[in-house]
Amino acid sequence: MSDDRLLEVRDLKVEFHTRDGVVKALNGVSYGVDAGETLAVLGESGSGKSVTAQAIMGILDMPPGRIAGGEILFQGQDLLTLGREERRRIRGPRMAMIFQDALSSLNPVLSVGWQLGEMFRVHRGASRQEAKARAVELMERVRIPAARQRVNDYPHEFSGGMRQRIMIAMALALEPDLIIADEPTTALDVTVQAQVMELLADLQREYRMGLILITHDLGVVADVADRIAVMYAGRIVENAPVKELYATPAHPYTQGLLDSIPRLDQKGSELYAIRGLPPNLLRIPDGCPFHPRCPRVRDVCRTELPPLYAVSPEVTTDPGAEADAAGADAAGSDAVGSDAVGPDAVSPDAAPLAGADVTEVPAVGERSSACHFWKETLDDVHRHSS
């Protein structure tokens, strides 16, 4: 584990008690972020991206929510053991969150200057004027034009992009070590998305903050993220450095996500879509939760929950795999090979990180995949991508 590790979530489990039963939103999520690193958390709605973020921030609605297990280590300290007041003191000065819809996330009846200044007044005991001056500075930092004139304006008087800048400014106010951005650009116009993303990335570099970027938009991720964690049904299914994940996804779900991005160079061919719907969290399927939608499903997937396997780096540079990739037309032998590999015969490279209950989190540069057949998936990709 890196000394630089800022945040480490271990085997986090969250459930919601509703009228219809217990919704298992998180079923053992583990991921980590280093200082200055950007982790993108990817997944469909309902996969648990936001719930994880809210659990880290300590803003889950409890009840109906309940943390059923796990640890959230922030700078070495387990947040789940802290009291309410201690956690409150962490929010703002040490970690902050940017929400998706800035219009509804900003208080409509208070001026933006007041809302920005509130951070300094509450956490730093600043005076009214001091807070306002700092608010103007912040607004300038996030490049809002005519900040001094606009500081007393209300959220509805700003454009969508400007409002999101204000959200970013609010999160940055006390220069926290960690920022969680929950789909920060989803609600924005495409033209504004890039600007806001760029701003966020610049500021993150400047302050050397850890950034967790929650998104379902693969396009946003490629440019800014260092690592990607893909979530499905409240678990991490793949965790990899961004380039490797894009080049060689090691989980069929990730592969499906990547294939469903429209590509200019394949214009005319039909768009790929992952079949089926995300699982009902009240009744998560047995075995691998992705199996009903998985194109390479086998019997074992229906019964055995795959642990988070370490994807060893040698595999991706495996000469055999490369050979396969090179000889793309000679696919027959490989197909036969992967059919032969049963769950018990999972290749020796793929040692589960820590049995079925995964508590270890891959360090920088490491990869992991929660698929019994990650290796075949990888090989398959190698074959096709050349």
Binding site: A96, V109, V122
Partner: protein, 307 residues
């Protein structure tokens, strides 16, 4: 803002004219102002005709109205049932009713909002359910039943209060009647505040406030309550009308010689100048109160355009 005020003032004029004309119609077209002057005795024909001419009753209704309003705006409200000018009666009665209303409104706002916030934050718990039931019971029992019963228990049985308020109507005498007057409105304020709090508690900006690391109290007061009070403020404007009408009942029960009491006397004695004069003033107060509430609303909610 200035233009908004002017626009609202201009909008008030037709409403004021319409409302007073309606009352005027009821009193002068449906009632008989002349016989009202004589009580139970029937006036002789000559006197009646002379009085009709004096009150412009021989002219068309709209003309009567114009003449009457002309008089009112020059300060001539006519003669009340007890022989004094209506203006004098009004001058005596208004401060008393004002004090009563003040007690009622303060009570209703303070207790109603506190109860609404407490129940809204504890939705579904025992405190919430019992307060909610209590508000329903208060709404269901007519004010005059509560009023007379409390008057009986507190005034006659326990002797804590004087069952009848003295003509001076000091603040301390008005506390119980004021609370009685406020009870139904209090129940509505509680329910409205609760609904508003429950709705806003799930709002994104409240989550943001928590994520900012603000203390719970600050989140509740500065963010949640501040926004939840907006519909309550609007309710209070309309409620002033309810309180004015309710004062007729309360003042009658406790013998408080305020506007409601005198107006009721005027109605019983069929004294048209008292009725029209008092109602005109009440409508005016109601409209002005609503204007103030609208302005307050605009201050509380910057999303309202002063267009």
């Amino acid at each position: 803002m200035g233009r908004y005020v002017v626009r609202r003032l201009l909008q008030m004029i037709p409403v004021f004219i319409g409302a007073t004309f309606l009352i005027f119609l009821m009193v002068f077209a449906l009632g008989d102002p002349v016989t009202g002057l004589f009580g139970d005795r029937a006036p002789d024909a000559a006197t009646a005709a002379r009085l009709r001419a004096e009150f412009n009753l021989d002219k068309p209704v709209w003309q009567q109205y114009v003449l009457y309003m002309g008089n009112i705006f020059t300060g001539d409200f006519g003669t009340a049932f007890n022989g004094r000018p209506v203006t004098e009666l009004l001058a005596d009665a208004l401060p008393i009713s004002f004090r009563l209303m003040l007690v009622a409104i303060v009570f209703e706002i303070v207790v109603g909002i506190v109860l609404g916030v407490v129940t809204g934050l504890r939705r579904g718990r025992a405190a919430d359910t019992s307060v909610l039931m209590a508000t329903l019971v208060v709404i269901a029992i007519p004010t005059f039943v509560l009023g007379t019963t409390l008057q009986f228990f507190l005034g006659v049985q326990l002797g804590w209060i004087n069952p009848a308020v003295s003509p001076a109507a000091r603040f301390d005498e008005l506390i119980v009647p004021g609370i009685i007057l406020a009870l139904v409105s209090l129940a509505y304020v509680t329910r409205l505040t609760r609904t508003s709090i429950v709705e806003n508690a799930r709002a994104d900006y409240v989550r943001t406030a928590v994520a900012k690391g603000l203390p719970r109290r600050r989140v509740t007061v500065r963010h949640l309550l501040r926004n939840s009070l907006i519909p309550v403020v609007t309710y209070l404007g309309a409620d002033i009308g309810t309180l004015m009408a309710g004062a007729i009942v309360t003042e009658r029960i406790f013998n408080i010689q305020g506007v409601g009491y005198q107006l009721y006397e005027g109605i019983l004695r069929q004294n048209s100048p008292t009725v029209v004069g008092f109602v005109t003033v009440l409508v005016l107060i109601f409209l002005i109160a609503n204007l103030l509430v609208d302005l307050l609303y605009a201050v509380l909610d910057p999303r309202i355009r002063y267009a």
